[in-house]
């Protein structure tokens, strides 16, 4: 049915290459991004590189397997009995509030910084704004790269509802905070926003009134104070977001799109691959995660016919069960192959590696190491 064979994604060549400096693992929620990032980091460290893994929101047991017990926003060496990699493995969990606070403290004078930190709108922005987490992940990534301390930074992207949010959120956030409306709504006289006023005409004052009625005048005032303080410090969010974009496009950065062999996850992966192309961001390939390839070359139909025969004869209950579970697995494997080949037909040039599922969840370095082996096709 399918003749297109995608190029094989060579994970070892990738992580061994000293020019590979940043690996971004992206994909929709629940596909195993964090585990993939951790497994890649571990493998690279064991092959001699000095690695830091930046995770956003790891599952508790995965975090524990990396020795991460608390969210302290600093890379910590992974220390587990008997773990002596050729290189080094460090890991950290992102604390977005803390990253934001640090950014303010680093760039503003003490008094000004305190003013900003105490602003109620700042508290909303730094904890619950849509896009803050993505934005702070990028900020932290930028810091880790700028420090020059690491051979390789592996980053896991936030658990956004769709893979594309990760690229759009910082821009969206900065657009809002840099935006003309915030100036207009809070201080229309000063903002020199006559242009927009003209565009929207009389509807505008109505809108201003409506928005104030809904969100309250105080919030608008706080937002305005915040944006003005921020603006003078950093030359605006937009510029800062632009820098992170530039970093993502720079040589040495690569994107790995992680997807489960499920229609939704592969559809998201498709969008993401197209988007990376449009943004000229370097795609390394697709990790088709948690596949279920058969371990015996026996077609499902023959296995089922044989199982039915045995059952009728009332013989060999063990073999009957084994044949049935093989037939189940073969059906799943066929479906996964079909879905992946559909992706490959749409994106024939994209390198791909399938990572067979482990039968149980990953809780320790051994599990991560095994996933690393599977990623490398061993």
């Amino acid at each position: 049915m399918n003749t297109t064979r995608p190029p094989l994604l060579d994970v070892d060549a990738l992580i061994d290459d000293p020019d590979t400096r940043v690996l971004v693992c992206c994909g929709s929620g629940g596909v195993g991004k964090t585990t993939t990032a951790a497994a890649l980091g571990l493998r690279a460290a064991e092959r001699g590189r000095r690695v830091v893994v930046l995770t956003i929101d790891p599952a508790r047991r995965l975090a524990q397997s990396l020795g991460l017990r608390e969210l302290d926003n600093q890379p910590r060496p992974v220390q587990v009995d008997g773990f002596q990699p050729k290189g080094e493995l460090h890991a950290m969990m992102l604390d977005m509030r803390r990253t934001f606070d640090d950014m303010v403290l680093a760039h503003a004078g003490r008094e000004r910084a305190e003013q900003i930190l105490a602003n109620p709108f700042y508290q909303t922005v730094s904890s619950s704004f849509s896009g803050t987490q993505e934005y702070m992940a990028m900020e932290k990534l930028g810091q880790l790269v700028a420090g020059g301390e690491w051979d390789l930074v592996v980053v896991d992207t936030p658990p956004s509802r769709s893979a594309l949010d990760f690229l759009d959120a910082p821009q969206r956030l900065s657009t809002v905070l840099d935006g003309r409306f915030i100036r207009l709504l809070s201080a229309p006289a000063r903002a020199g926003g006559r242009g927009i006023r003209k565009i929207v005409g009389t509807g505008f004052s109505m809108f201003t009134r409506a928005v104030s009625t809904i969100v309250g005048g105080q919030l608008l005032q706080d937002a305005s104070t915040f944006v003005q303080a921020f603006d003078s410090m950093f030359g605006g969010f937009r510029e800062r977001a632009q820098k992170t974009y530039d970093l993502l496009r720079s040589p040495g950065t690569g994107f790995l799109v992680v997807a489960a062999a499920e229609p939704d996850a592969l559809r998201e992966a498709s969008f993401f691959v197209e988007r990376l192309g449009a943004e000229k961001m370097p795609l390394i390939g697709l990790v088709a995660n948690r596949t279920h390839p058969v371990l015996a070359a026996l077609p499902a139909t023959r296995a089922l016919a044989a199982a039915d025969g045995l059952e009728r004869a009332g013989e060999a209950p063990l073999a009957t069960a084994v044949l049935r579970l093989h037939a189940d697995r073969a059906a799943v494997a066929d479906r996964e192959k079909r879905l992946i080949s559909r992706f490959t037909r749409a994106h024939p040039g994209v390198a791909l590696v399938g990572v067979p599922a482990l039968p149980a969840d990953v809780h320790d370095l051994d599990g991560l190491r095994e996933i690393g082996r599977r990623l490398a096709g061993e």
Partner: protein
């Protein structure tokens, strides 16, 4: 299948069924199947999505839904399911239009990004608008006095965000304390915390989804929202008898018996293939053990639990009807 109590009498009385679940559990699929099940036998059900993903349209293999209630499927026995993709911007304009005469300005403001701005500025506003629209659909009556919809199924945000989404009281803390939006949100709070609403959680028999399910139940309880049923999706049939699972998971599968058995069935497999079958059996057994642990853990939630099978061919419209039928068999009405 060990089924604890299925759909309860109490759930039958719910009019708003909120469906959440960890990403990747099949939340939208289950929400759609639930809508079809509830519509079975001649009722009218509205299926609502709020995350702007057009998942319902994709699931039913349709063009993207406009911001209106469209008939999307017929249910067995003369029922129908309509679908609505609520858009926060459209909801805000609709809402403003009720209180202010925006006229054409509304459209211009939208183009200029003002609406996006307002809903981003106050993070709670988006949720208040979306839940407000849902409430309006639940409460809407026909001229005859009966409700337009017998039930509304909401494909809600995933477990990590759902309580925040439904906790309108908290969202309102950011917003104006008086005025029309306050009045409207009070109505939403009343509905969400009443016996008319149940929050169902879609889970899988895997560690992470189970953990998130239990966390969500605790959060819902703490916010005084009512957890409904746990819908366990993609359950695969156990093929090994329970008494042999432990040994098999430890690697004790008698390869000779497997080989002799398949040979008796007329299959001549290579030693490698027999070995492959044995390895598959060990993996299957390990998975069954993990699933049993997941079931035991889920039982801690002490909620009605309904299982849905994995569909080997994937989910298409036909599969939704199949799942709906299973839900009806398990008592959903």
């Amino acid at each position: 299948m060990s089924e604890s109590a299925g759909w309860t009498e109490e759930l039958t009385r719910s009019r708003l069924h909120v469906v959440t679940g960890k990403g990747g559990t099949g939340k939208t699929t289950v929400a759609a199947a639930l809508a079809l099940a509830l519509a079975t036998g001649g009722r009218r059900v509205l299926l609502v999505e709020v995350e702007g993903r057009q998942s319902i349209a994709q699931l039913f293999d349709r063009a993207p839904l406009p911001y209106s209630e469209e008939r999307i499927a017929s249910a067995p026995g003369g029922g129908e399911v309509r679908a609505l993709a609520v858009d926060a911007e459209a909801a805000l304009l609709e809402y403003l239009a009720m209180f202010y005469n925006l006229g054409f300005a509304g459209r211009t403001l939208r183009k200029a990004g003002a609406i996006e701005f307002a809903t981003t500025l106050a993070p709670g506003l988006r949720d208040v608008l979306l839940t407000g629209k849902v409430k309006e659909c639940v409460r809407r009556t026909l001229p005859t006095g009966r409700h337009e919809y017998d039930a509304v199924v909401l494909d809600a945000p995933p477990t990590g965000r759902v309580v925040k989404f439904l906790d309108v009281t908290r969202a309102m803390a950011d917003l104006a304390k008086v005025g029309p939006i306050k009045t409207q949100s009070d109505g939403v709070v009343t509905l969400l915390h009443s016996g008319d609403t149940a929050v169902h959680i879609v889970s899988l028999l895997e560690e992470m989804p189970v953990r998130e399910t239990l966390d969500a139940v605790a959060e819902l309880d703490a916010a005084d929202l009512r957890p409904g049923a746990v819908l366990v999706n993609r359950v695969r049939p156990p093929r090994l008898p329970a008494h042999s699972v432990t040994a098999a998971a430890d690697g004790h599968v008698d390869a000779d018996r497997v080989r002799d058995g398949v040979r008796a069935a007329g299959l001549d497999l290579s030693p490698e293939d027999v070995e492959g079958l044995v390895d598959e059996t060990v993996e299957h057994a390990i998975r069954l053990q993990m699933e049993q642990r997941a079931k035991d853990k889920l039982a801690e939630a002490d909620l009605p639990t309904l299982e849905l099978p994995e569909l080997a061919d994937g989910v298409d419209v036909g599969a939704l009807y199949e799942l709906a039928e299973l839900l009806v068999e398990r008592g959903v009405r």
